[in-house]
């Protein structure tokens, strides 16, 4: 059992600082190391990296003030701190000598159970392992994050031949549950899985694009959304990664001995020329693309200059791919003779062939490859599932026409049954189908006691087949599950989970069921990105366009009514939130008894962006919450912030911000006692509380943060009161003296008002005052009198 309490990240570069940020997001405090700065500011380099976190977009930190959880350290002065660290993540430059020196430098400071991992993707893990003390070697492995580490969920975990398998299990569990990552165990091969396939994919697009004489923006138009991939597609991705970085990565891959596609691993002439000119992409403001004022320009290979980016997909190709995904229409594609269609075919042949050829060497199963591409590159479909959808044998014919390179023998056995069957995903190594239940699905299954349902409900991927067991009601607009003997789960099925009449009716039914059977109600969505887009605008538009103002008012009343019913129901409703909860979706959060939110939750009241205001109780709840938060006059400053957020349709960028905005705190109107009625029952409730804290991962150690004190000015205000109180004979002279001592501590001592202090500062003031008072005759007399009285 590993207890990861204190974590250190070595290297405060782009990846290191963002990994530290994600660890801070998870509620840990983390030490971030880099080279020492000048003598007067030894942590300057690390501090600059931490400050830069607040300027990156998209933000690596869940909320700005989380920088307080990241402590700046340097390799010269702070190595001793490593003695307390349980997990040390090395993220320095990809040079073996540098890593060797670092590992040797930190070795004397590692405690015997310390885990050292490396984010390297190019260097030999086995070689690195040798630089650690022998005891540590079994606790070493590769832990490969993807950029940006907050938003890309993939982490590849790579054992060496001597890494403890128990360690790997524990790290997989920790990364999944504590950092919110999706873990794939990869083999120790160059670039592991995602980058091996991903970089090849990019290079294939580049080379096939050149072969079919497509413009660079044309290649992007064809390899982004059209293939269900991020819109950075091919060339924009290269700009973001950096052309020089790409050059370096490709160079590493050229060294692989047994790769028949070795020739693909070089950048074409025009890219090398751009690199030579210093046009490296986003980091130099210019690469394949550049921005001239408001116009985006793309490099034209023929002209060797830039022109406005304007490429588009051929109309007939676009028409074909609008009606079905690419996997469904490979046959029609084959019949099209245009360069764009031929490019797509050639690319798919390359990708599928390469993936199949190397599968056994790089991964355990087809699912690992597909997941790697989904989680690390944001592809909606990995190569094997896409291939299966295209028709395996049909594509095999095309591939054989396209290339002379051999195909693995296992393909012949699997081509008819498929890569995925009801038995699982094919593993060439095991030569069978394996069905691994994910860590989260296993945990959910403890409560749900139904493997298929647990697997379905604990995944992010959109599945079409919803298992039937445990389903109580299945309607067009929603599903209602009787998931455990104590809970019902309501899931929307409207488009972007909007609220319409059917949903309102469904929620009423769900509440009836909950109240009649004494269960709690959970509202959870199958879609991981969009919890709810709000009210059904089509419904609203219909009423507005027919000037049915009464109908509109009635609809609002119905919506307000269901939310009020949820709020005041005798049975609790909890929202299990992930993704965007906008408008009415956010209003639902405000009326639930509680909200269990994923870090990547984005609540917001956005009605003003369509010219309306929240009318499902959102305004009412925010007014109510500020009133409860504040005290009379002070209410206004809370209200002002609320007002601005609603007016400007602000959406929180994380659960941390959601809490700060007041959208996620659960129901402040709940008056249920937070105390136990029977004195003899407190232990039992304490036991279930500890259970609850561990189960919901609220067991992490606290993180120290500085706080503001009232200072000299505050003390003067308290002293005024003391003088008046003594004059009025409300306190005696000694209470007056003690009051002065107390005021000094509470206001933080002799500092300016508003100074930030830490707890150690006040603890020292407490000790000084206590000892001072203990020396006084009056105190000694009081103590003596008290103790005599006790006898």
């Amino acid at each position: 059992m590993i207890f990861v309490r204190q974590i250190a990240v070595l290297g405060a570069g782009v990846m290191g600082s963002q990994i530290a940020a994600q660890i801070a997001n998870a509620g840990y405090s983390v030490l971030l190391f880099d080279l020492p700065g000048p003598a007067e500011k030894p942590n300057a380099i690390t501090e600059a990296a931490i400050a830069r976190l607040q300027t990156l977009k998209p933000p690596p930190l869940a909320i700005e003030n989380l920088t307080a959880a990241i402590r700046a350290c340097n390799f010269q002065d702070d190595l001793a701190q490593l003695k307390h660290c349980d997990l040390i993540i090395e993220v320095i430059a990809e040079q073996l000598e540098l890593k060797r020196d670092l590992y040797q430098k930190i070795s004397p400071f590692l405690h015997e159970n310390a885990i050292v991992v490396s984010n390297t993707s190019g260097l030999s893990l086995h070689a690195l392992q040798q630089y650690l003390p022998v005891i540590q070697q079994q606790y070493f492995c590769g832990m490969h994050f993807f950029n940006p580490p907050r938003y890309l969920s993939l982490v590849e975990l790579i054992p060496t031949s001597t890494t403890s398998s128990a360690l790997l299990d524990e790290l997989a569990h920790w990364l999944t549950c504590r950092l919110g990552k999706n873990v794939i165990r990869a083999k120790d091969t160059p670039n592991f899985i995602a980058n091996r396939i991903g970089v090849f994919s990019l290079l294939s697009c580049i080379h096939q694009g050149l072969r079919y004489h497509l413009a660079l923006d044309e290649v992007d138009a064809l390899t982004g959304a059209l293939l269900l991939r991020p819109k950075s597609a091919t060339y924009r991705t290269l700009d973001v990664v950096g052309l020089d970085t790409m050059q370096h990565v490709v160079h590493t891959l050229q060294g692989i001995a047994d790769d028949p596609w070795r020739d693909t691993f070089q950048l074409p002439e025009f890219l090398q020329s751009l690199i030579a000119q210093g046009h490296l992409g986003q980091k130099t403001g210019q690469g394949i693309y550049r921005k001239q004022g408001k116009v985006i320009e793309v490099y034209d290979i023929q002209q060797q200059s830039y022109r406005p980016a304007a490429a588009s997909v051929d109309p007939d190709l676009f028409a074909l791919l609008s009606t079905c995904s690419i996997s469904q229409c490979m046959q029609e594609l084959r019949n099209m003779k245009s360069p764009q269609a031929q490019f797509l075919l050639a690319y798919w042949c390359d990708l599928l062939h390469y993936s199949a050829y190397h599968l056994q060497a790089i991964a355990h199963s087809v699912q690992d490859v597909d997941h790697a591409m989904q989680w690390g590159y944001g592809w909606q479909e990995g190569p094997f599932i896409a291939w299966q959808n295209m028709g395996i044998e049909r594509m095999l014919d095309l591939i054989k026409d396209h290339s002379q390179i051999a195909l693995p023998t296992w393909l012949e056995e699997v081509k008819r049954a498929g890569f995925y069957t009801h038995k699982g995903a094919y593993s060439p190594q095991e030569n069978t189908y394996i069905s691994e239940k994910s860590i989260l699905s296993q945990k959910l299954n403890h409560l749900v006691k139904n493997e298929e349902v647990a697997e379905f409900l604990s995944s992010s991927s959109r599945k079409n087949d919803i298992p039937k067991q445990l389903l109580l009601t299945q309607e067009q607009a929603y599903d209602l599950w009787a998931l455990t003997d104590k809970t019902l789960v309501f899931c929307f099925k409207t488009k972007t989970n909007v609220f319409d009449n059917a949903i309102i009716e469904g929620l009423n039914q769900a509440l009836n069921e909950a109240e009649q059977t004494g269960k709690g109600l959970i509202i959870y969505q199958y879609n991981a990105e969009t919890f709810s887009g709000g009210a059904d605008l089509n419904l609203l538009m219909a009423l507005i366009q027919t000037s049915d103002w009464q109908g509109l008012d009635l609809l609002l009343q119905q919506f307000q009514h269901i939310l009020m019913r949820i709020k005041y129901s005798p049975n609790p409703t909890i929202v299990a939130l992930r993704g965007r909860a906008l408008g009415a979706g956010c209003e639902l959060l405000l009326h639930a008894r509680g909200v269990v939110a994923a870090m990547e939750s984005y609540p917001g009241l956005v009605e003003t962006s369509v010219g309306l205001i929240p009318a499902g109780g959102g305004c009412k709840e925010m007014a109510l919450r500020t009133a409860r938060q504040a005290n009379g006059y002070a209410n206004f400053s809370y209200l002002k912030n609320c007002f601005e957020r609603i007016l400007l349709s602000k959406v929180a960028s994380s659960a941390a911000e959601g809490f700060a905005y007041g959208y996620l705190g659960g129901n402040p109107s709940v008056q249920t006692p937070h105390w136990v009625m029977h004195k003899d029952d407190v232990l039992r409730v304490a036991l279930t509380t500890v259970d609850y804290l561990f189960a919901s991962q609220m067991d992490l150690p606290a993180v120290q943060r500085p706080f503001v004190v009232a200072g000299r000015e505050g003390k003067a205000r308290l002293q005024m009161q003391l003088v008046n109180a003594r004059e009025g004979r409300f306190i005696n002279d000694y209470q007056y003296q003690m009051g002065n001592a107390l005021a000094h501590i509470l206001c933080g001592g002799d500092v300016d008002e508003g100074t930030l202090v830490d707890e150690a500062w006040l603890l020292r003031l407490e000790r000084e005052a206590f000892v001072h008072l203990a020396k006084q005759a009056e105190t000694q007399a009081l103590l003596s009198k008290f103790t005599k009285g006790m006898k």
């Binding site: 000299r712 003390k715 205000r717 008046n724 000084e768 005052a769």
Partner: protein, 160 residues
């Protein structure tokens, strides 16, 4: 020095703080009522000839901040050309305003002035919304104050 005469005076009723009839009334509205009444009482006077409106206020902040004399003058539909100032000598602010206005007339600065005072302790309590003291006065050690009678510390809100 010109002789100065008080020509007329008027006041509102006095309500109890927090519980009285005027606890919801804005202080500038109290003044507006009086100013308009004065105008009605003396409708033959050319009110554009007022040289100054001098209003005393002991806690001139928040609802009675922003130069409450000027706010009230404008709200009472007096022309924007009529100047106004708010002065503070704590409890004697009101009487000071009369003295100040009278001195202006005596010195020949103007012929005609409006003076008065306003206070709503329901809206702005004694000490104001951020009751503060200067720490300089409290030259005590960290833990004790050697003075047995800090006369200088007693709240100096009286009419001095």
């Amino acid at each position: 020095m010109t002789n100065v005469y008080i020509v007329d005076c008027i006041r509102t009723a006095v309500g109890k703080a927090y519980r009285g009839a005027f606890r919801h009334t804005l202080p500038d509205d109290l003044l507006v009522c009086l100013m308009q009444s004065m105008k009605q009482r003396h409708d033959t006077i050319d009110w554009t000839l007022i040289g100054d409106v001098v209003i005393g206020c002991a806690m001139p902040e928040a609802e009675q901040g922003m130069n409450v004399a000027r706010m009230a003058t404008l709200l009472a539909d007096f022309p924007a050309s009529i100047p106004a100032m708010t002065i503070n000598r704590f409890c004697s602010s009101g009487i000071q305003s009369v003295a100040t206005a009278a001195m202006s007339i005596a010195q020949g600065e103007m012929d005609f002035a409006l003076a008065g005072g306003v206070e709503s302790m329901s809206k702005v309590p004694m000490g104001g919304n951020k009751y503060t003291a200067n720490p300089f006065k409290y030259r005590c050690s960290a833990h004790s104050c050697p003075n047995t009678h800090c006369h200088h510390a007693i709240l100096p809100l009286t009419a001095l």
